[in-house]
Amino acid sequence: MNTVAAIEPRHTAGQRARESVFRGATLVAAILVLGLLGGVILTLILGAWPVFSHFGLKFLTREVWNPVTDQYGALAPIYGTLVTSVLAMVFAIPVSIGIAVFLTELAPPWMKRPVGVAIELLAAVPSIIFGIWGLFVVAPVFQQHVQPFLIRWLGPLPVMGKLFQGPPFGIGVLTASFVLALMVVPFISAVVRDVFETVPDVLKESAYGLGATTWEVIWKIVIPHTRTGVVGGVMLGLGRALGETMAVTFVIGNAHRLTASLLAPGTTIAASIANEYTEAVGDLYTSALVGLGSILFLITFSVIAAARFMLLRLERRALSSV
């Protein structure tokens, strides 16, 4: 009766008007986000149109890149992007999982926070600093110590030796992958640490109760339980590695060339765009670079979409098991 009416909110006309204006504003902003992605995609398609209509799909499989004669092919940058990112993952995955295991299972409580924060700090280093550091510190060390060693011992091997031949330049695909690996380690280890913490204690305690060692608990309980989440974290890291620009541009050597050797200079999609976009003269040249950008966007889009999908599945499973 009266009391019921009293607790029901009574909005004045002014309140209701303000509310609907605010609601409308938030809705417009939300739709703007949709429009923004639409705009990006549309711009890329329109910008890349000339190069694809000129060369057709062969643009993707040609190696030549010659602005003077207006001949463009995307194969070398695509190859460089994929190789540096995959190699970076090879370095980064074991280290990140190691860090996550250390932080969740091994570190004494007083150590967890400072070490975790320090690793996260690595993610806060601007990419240009990774680039400068890679060029002035990592590249000389690679040139004088790491690469001669690889050329001497792995170069003569059959098949695999092809990856480690040629002079030690210092800069090149291997150095870029190394710097990329360092950049994605904090991202992967943060995600992996978070999903490791979703494992119910009961499961771990049961395994310890049966006499399992810490490693057996991690390998047979924690990792199987969080497999999708770990894969999702790795894919997020991969997405970052694929699109990373400045650090790679500094250390990869920027050569539009396909070589089997990991020690040779190469290029990636992002590095090519960063180097050439502002200097590109002629419509076809610009269009070729925008074409490269669309390919990169397509690759990262697929990787990120797959990662989100996997993390979502893990989240749903965690909800249903509680």
């Binding site: 902003a29 939300a30 992605l37 190691g98 070490v115 320090a118 060692t213 699109g243 620009t245 966007f297």
Partner: protein, 173 residues
Amino acid sequence: MNRTALTGSAHRRRTVRKLTNAVALSLSGLATAIGLFFLGAILWTLLKSGLSGISLSLFTEMTPPAGSDGGLLNAIYGSAVMTIIGILIGAPVGLLAGTYLAEYGRESRLSVVIRFVNDILLSAPSIVIGMFVSVVLVVHMRHFSAIAGAVALAVIAMPVMVRTPARSPCSRK
């Protein structure tokens, strides 16, 4: 006889398991040490080569022609101005859209789509965003500008702000 053989093999298995455990855990400690080492290496390089370059003139003078003295005032000023304009453009849109997702849209189909799209924008390579802004703004204005840079920064910063309100504990069901 049989019994001692069994305990012998069980003993060996236990040793192997303990050894595997010790090796695996040491490797995970090593991984953490590697991460910390490289963080230290980067900071050390920065301090060693950077500290000597820091002086008052760095913040008060313009970038000199090669070979003479000067500072980085124009670069510092440029970073500050672009960041401020970028946030002024990106923050209202980002926070309003984030509020919509957290308070009005919640789990509706539109919100799910927007959240997904926002995640794509969040992880889009910055070089692609730069290209988009360049095609849309720089080409039409016919020159590079702080405004174009600020808009690019806004597009990069906005998805982070869209995501943040949705994470607050109150809006969780």
